[in-house]
Amino acid sequence: MNMPTENQAQAEHRALPPTTHDEYARQEFVRSFKEHLVKHVHGGNRAVYEAKVKPAFQQQHQRAPQTRFEVRDAMVREPHYQMFSTLLRTSQEMMWSSCQIPVQRNLTALNQAIAKRPKKARGSLTLDAALETPKYHTAVDIHCQPGGYHTEFVAEDASAGMVYDRAVYLYAMGQMGPYNNDIGASIVSWLQQQHPTFKPRRILDLGCSVGHSTVPYAQAFPKAEIHAIDVAAPMLRYAHARAEDLGVRVHYSQQNAERTNFADGSFDLVVSHILLHETSQTALQNIVQECHRLLGAGGLMVHAETPPYKGMDPFDAFLLDWDTRNNNEPFWARSHEVDLRALSRQAGFDPDLKFEELIPSAFQIAKAQRSNKFQGGDFGGGGLWFIYGNRK
């Protein structure tokens, strides 16, 4: 297998669904479409805002817009913003469609291949058919994936995972690397730099989906026991197959991060990667509380997200908020406005040991090619990840 270069092709592994010539070309088109929107259409929103919308608002109110809501009310009437939005939404729909086609074509055989694991598996897979899918997953299909993370279209289905692994690559336009692992890899290198003596023996990844962020921990801490949980069985079936193909040892189990079956104080490191914004106010509190329960003394909780809105220019916040309304991410906005210190305190953590910071992306080489902006539709383009966490 040829190793792809950074920011180019996704790395192939046996779990990733094969594509025909045209299926692959259709997916490549979506990636180019998204890149084009980021490079050539997105910036027009700011241009229109500065040249037209802001001056008109100033004339009417004798001040500039102060909140993302004021910006939104003025921008939604602008033809450029309307066109940008309809294109971005369309690109999202085409992305899922292009990833579904090769999976649908060969669903039975692909599911059989996922189910058939080597006899000597390194890790494990434990499903719980009785686990209830939380309402924040069933209210709408998150980020417009038809059926969301959880739907099983046939018995023993892993199709949602197959579709998701490819779509994540297209969504990030390769900016998370050929293995989609940049968020996990970035936290790993942050840990290695900021906490060089920290050698976690047991690590838990919450809301792991296909395990693309879990794998870097297994690679960086080969002696550690790695667990990863998710509420969605199709994701976990795929994640397990994927990890085995990549030769890493991860124990996947179907559990809700709000209340797991692990013992008190049984982990040194509990992490999540862009999980928090896909939950709810109540669930967020429960999850941080659960992290506190699961960590031993001196243990670390680290959650990666896109940065909070606090202190952000109202126009930037408005655009970053695009996904809340237009990409089925209903908790996106609110989750970016949470008082993290209070969240830590209420969960039982010492708020003085709370940290939040922007950490560099592990893919420094690609950084120069990025837009260096956090903006709707440009996932990973910031070249930085926001982390929030607490030491216990």
Binding site: P4, A25, F29, H36, R89, G147
Partner: protein, 124 residues
């Protein structure tokens, strides 16, 4: 309810429309769907031409298993980039006009050539 074995095609949740007339959003979606299929055809033809040059007549199976190497992939990505630039030209044009100061109403241009910059008298 979903049909067994059939992946759902629409994501649950109300779809947002951005224009006053949602049919505009629908047409955009169709145009981009069409653009996607044109890009697929372009890649297929490109593959065919490269295989013809290589083998002097490819089998259909050879076409289906063809994967572009890094150079070919980059040249295709560049083609798609310029193709999208053409299809989506209309979106960029207004922004370009604004940043280059090309914002004069067309009536002013007529006035300039017709009567030395004085606006024509509006008819009732």
């Amino acid at each position: 309810m979903s049909t067994p074995g059939k992946l759902k095609r629409k994501a649950k949740g109300e779809r947002p429309y951005f224009f006053d007339d949602p049919n505009i959003d629908r047409v955009v979606s169709m145009v981009m769907g069409l653009a996607g299929e044109v890009a697929v055809l372009h890649d297929r033809l490109d593959t065919l031409e490269r295989l013809v040059a290589q083998h002097g007549g490819p089998a259909r199976a050879a076409l289906d298993t063809y994967r572009p190497d890094a150079t070919v992939a980059a040249s295709r990505a560049a083609w798609r980039e310029s193709f999208l630039g053409e299809v989506l030209r209309i979106v960029e044009i207004e922004v370009e006009a604004m940043s280059s100061g090309d914002t004069q109403p067309y009536e002013q241009a007529i006035a300039a050539v017709e009567n030395n910059g004085r606006a024509r008298r509006q008819k009732k």
